[in-house]
Amino acid sequence: MCLWCRIRQKNPKKKTYYAAHVMTPLLSAPGEKMAAVQDAPMELDSEKETKPEILSDGTSNLSGNTASGTLSSPPLTAGGAPKQEDQQTLIAVLQFLRRNKLTESVDILRREACLEDQEDSQTLDGSGGGKGDGDGGDANSLLSRVSIASAAAPQSTLTPIPVKSEYDQPDVSVVLSAYSQQGDPSLYQVYYTGLKNFIESVLDCHRAELSQLFYPLFVHMYLELVYNNHETKAKAFFEKFSGDQECYYQDDLQILCGLTKKEHLKGNEALLDFRTSRFVLRISRDSYQLLKRHLQERHNNQIWNIIQEHLYIDIFDGMPRSKSQIDSMSGSFAGETRREVNKAKVFYGLLKEPEIEVPLDDEDDEAENEEGKPKKKKTKKDSMGSKSKKQDPNAPQQNRIPLPELKDSDKLDKIMYMKESTKRIRLGPENLPSICFYSFLNAYQGLTAVDFTDDSSLLAGGFADSTVRVWSATPKKLRKVKSAAELNLIDKESDDVLERIMDEKTASESKNLYGHSGPVYGVSFSPDRNYLLSSSEDGTVRLWSLQTFTCLVGYKGHNYPVWDTHFSPFGYYFVSGGHDRVARLWATDHYQPLRIFAGHLADVTCTRFHPNSNYVVTGSTDRTIRLWDVLNGNCVRFFTGHKGPIHSLAFSPNGKFLASGSTDGRVLLWDIGHGLMIGELKGHTDTIYALKFSRDGEILASGSMDNTVRLWDSMKAFDDMETDDFTAATGHIPLPDNSQELLLGMYHSKSTPVTHLHFTRRNLLLAAGAYNSQ
């Protein structure tokens, strides 16, 4: 068990390191020049200069993300001035590499670091010397130095601890040794009771905030007892105080409860994670002062030590938060978000649409014939056109991420899309969409994933029996391309050659794709409908051709079940996330990942691309959501608030907002730009597996295991929230409890859990799920 987790921790990290080096240039593959990538960091720099608050925020690159900063080289090379933390990180990386005898990588890293030396020699002298001396010194001594440094300045050095944890996670004994200081085990209950009494006696306004301390303290004290082999005392401690904890920590308490042996502690990754990451609390300055004074008065060193070592208290100036405010944000595995984590600039705007000449006249004639209101439509389209021509100030540079060039077929599809969108129904609270339900019948083998193509012409289902099935949702049947021998006979000059290459004999309503050796947990169509991705328990992501209905590539990288995969809205890239706790960014023509997004403390359950393809969002079993920058692999947003694993994510069509659904049956809405939670939609009684915004973003549809589809007024939810930079500074806003007002409709299916939701281009809502006869 122990060895297993050690390997599991190690392997991806090693690979990651190489990946960061090898992959960066590869990003320029899809038709763009290298310059595109090189431009981008410069762009980043200029951004930073113009926005000083980011620079002053010393840890923006690494904070909130234990791994990505060290894993991907861009922040080292591209980030502004290297900081002390970076140096220490560097040393730690070098130590790690040396220990694993990866001398080449050491050299490469050194060379790169030296390059930096010349650019900015102010701090690197020390590190250079450190490197020379550090050869003999073992990692522990180095890391102890790091920890000392952190202890000296607990407020400012956030990153060394994660770094330490990062590289010593394999060495369980080192991690756990923090617990070895012997306090009197019998006094633990006294300490805890003392703190409890104190918190209960303080003013109401502070009580809620200080109550946040209970859970992390409880866990750490319990683990300390277990680690020091005070089994009976640990059990007694657990029995006495477990009832005080918030109900949303129930899952964790269940894990804790069974754990009474030091040996078990060593094998339990979840708790190792708890140990290695600092639990983040957000407390107002007043409450914190109160606590500090109390602990100092009582000389309660045991608790003070734990707070110093294992907790990170994010102190803010202002009103203490209320209980409900705290509850809405807490619940994650590692506490709340640090405010500064979400300060980085996110270019959430949409990319400029390519200018395609649409044969407007024919289209309008058609519209006139059909609907009789062509005038209105025309003006609307014109306004849309002008909007797309202007660059959105929040949008990333067009070539920030190299994107594949549009093919002729893509342009045709865009034209089709434009035509369709003119016939789109405008939804609103008074005008709810019609819902079509695609029921999978006789799916005894277990339907695990569904996806629709953007034009709603194809439907794919992933099943627990390892198969992927593709259905045609239109009367047009699915056909394979003819075999090579037959293709030779075709007249390649003929106009209908695309029609001729299809083998009429293979026409059928559905096609089965065989290749996986485990349940298929995620499927995703490419935007051009030529490919299908599927991710499976067997640890692979497979790319299937929808022309030949064969497997083209098996992407091996996740060595554990891959829970989800999603194609970029522009194709070419895709993201996958799995049991190995990382999300990976791939390009279809590379068999290795381009980026590895590491930082989640538990499985990555759900992955989605931002509409502008520059960001990737991942949801995890650790009950957090992270937004990653595709360009440099940084974690730019970190959202907490869910009380259970996150199983669905959806971006609003304008890229500004994010909705997330979890096993706790709640949908949370997030403002990406400001990094704030802006809404909570309660109503579902079971896991939410599907979320989708309507094409114009007015309606949010959510589908759940409880066999219902609910429609929410997302426009109202977004408009009601006044988010500005000021509110963003506090990191929280008062959330109105208006779920009932926002709920526009609830629709029951006939014992069919909703697995997937999709809005057609005309805003008809398609839902899919497997009919469950029991």
Partner: protein, 637 residues
Amino acid sequence: MEERRFAEVPRESIKLMAESSGVELSEEVAALLAEDVCYRLREATQNSSQFMRHAKRRKLSVEDLNRALRWSNTETICGYGAQDALPFRPLKEGELFFVEDREINLVELALATNIPKGCAETMVRVHVSYLDGKGNLEPQGTVPTAVQSLSEDLLKYYQQITRAILGEDPHLMKVALLDLQSNSKIAALLPYFVYVISGVKSVSHDLDQLNRLLHMVKSLVQNPYLYLGSYVRSLVSSVMYCILEPLAASINPLNDHWTLRDYAALLLSHIFWTHGDLVSGLYHQILLSLQKVLSDPVRPLCSHYGAVVGLHALGWKAVERVLYPHLPAYWANLQAVLDDYSVSNAQVKADGHKVYGAILVAVERLLKMKALSLTLAAEGSGAGLPGTTTGAVGFRENSPGLSPPSEPLSEPPLGIASHLQAGGAGCPWEEWTPVSLPAMYCELYSFFGDSLAVRFSTGPPLGGATPPGPCQPLEGRKEPASSAPNLENTRKMPQLTASMNISPRQDGSPRMEPQPPSLAATVPGRSLARSSSSSSVSRSRSSSSHPGRSTSQSRDIFPKARFPLPQAGPPAFSFIIGGRQMGRRCQGRRFQTSFTPTPPLTTHPPRAYAHKLPVIGRVSKPVRRWTCSHYSLHLPL
């Protein structure tokens, strides 16, 4: 008292388990182990719940737990994959609980008569659930399952459909069949329809009804939503009935039961190709029953016809495997029928021609497909070619003259060899194997003569020219005088020559000789003598074979053959389809069309020839039965 949060494994259980595997545990160790086991179990359960969540289920399955175990490098638990819960029972005396694990009697299971439920195909159905946000009044629709209880509607549907199909209105029938072909919700009715179809036996006198039932089979088979499962067997047996049985309807020669058999054979092959995988061994069963019919001389010719057509429909491999090895034996019987020109035999003879035609078509396809497969594997078959080429060379040298007298003697046990000689070839087929194309051609040529040659050389191209290996012996044998007969053949169009024979004397073919090698061995000298004499004259004309046939009649199973030959029969037309070389060595069957004898026969009352139906074979039960049924059918007339 606080309730316990988790189930725990008591140390007693641990001790018991240790005991059962022969280990003695101290109290202390057991306690420690019990605790550890609890923890590990909990851990595995927690891990497995993740698989459940991602599979979008609410129920944790054994599969989930096994996956979790596998990913933590622990051995998985086998034998608990069943969907239904395992009963957990206490033992009366003593506190022992166990999972009931009944022994299953495999024989009983295998012979169980209850038909297992099929697993219906996964499919997607669309249903507009909410129109403009308002609920749709229409129910979501029923789920098509393999077997479900019959609803009122289904029953009504069943009645309507069967009435429409078996009724009089052809238009209604067409509609019903179309619906049967595309309706997705009739899985529950499948057993009923199968039962209706199995009623073919009771309507064997009514060709129309039989046809309708076969169409019903076709519709059911073509319905993509139906999982036929084990019903395939039942359907196949119904279709086979139509192919093989001497239907009551076939007593009346005016009934075109031939078409029915053709259609049924096509249907059989369709079922086999599309649903053959549902029943294991179906192919062999079909082949076996077809072979049985073919080798049963008691059966009427229409049954034989059905068998041949069925084999043909199943593909050339079936023909090669069953018909071809059986042909020599069968040919004798057929020959006897065809050579009997008595008026009383006319109807049977017509049937015989039908069979002849069917065999010819089947054999032609066999040869063509075989040649095609040979060309495809042209280089690969090099090993077999040298033998044939040397044989061909030797044959060429010999063929202009007569076969050397020593050769037949050297291989007396080969009945086939004598046949080949009778065919005028005299070729030394020492390397005769049932699969070699030239040998096959030779043999078949001895039966069909040039009508085969013409058919083989015409028709659809066989992927370019005929294979060089096999065609060498062919051209030598067929046309010794011509230098390039193959070319000539391909260019030549088949000719239809009508010749009028005053008396039907071509019955004296030596092919009448019984086939078994042991029998042939008894008359080597005679066959040699015959071959030398006959190859100079036109084979079929040789009257010398008359005594030969009578003496060699070692089997008396063909009493028809002894019928006195009508000396003053009506002039008969015989069509000879063949090439230009026909006239020279016309040792093949003349393709005597059946209409020569029929015109006079149609004037005959059916009774007159009805009893001649079982003309091949002993007069036995089926004969009586059929004459009886004939009488019963025609007495009112």
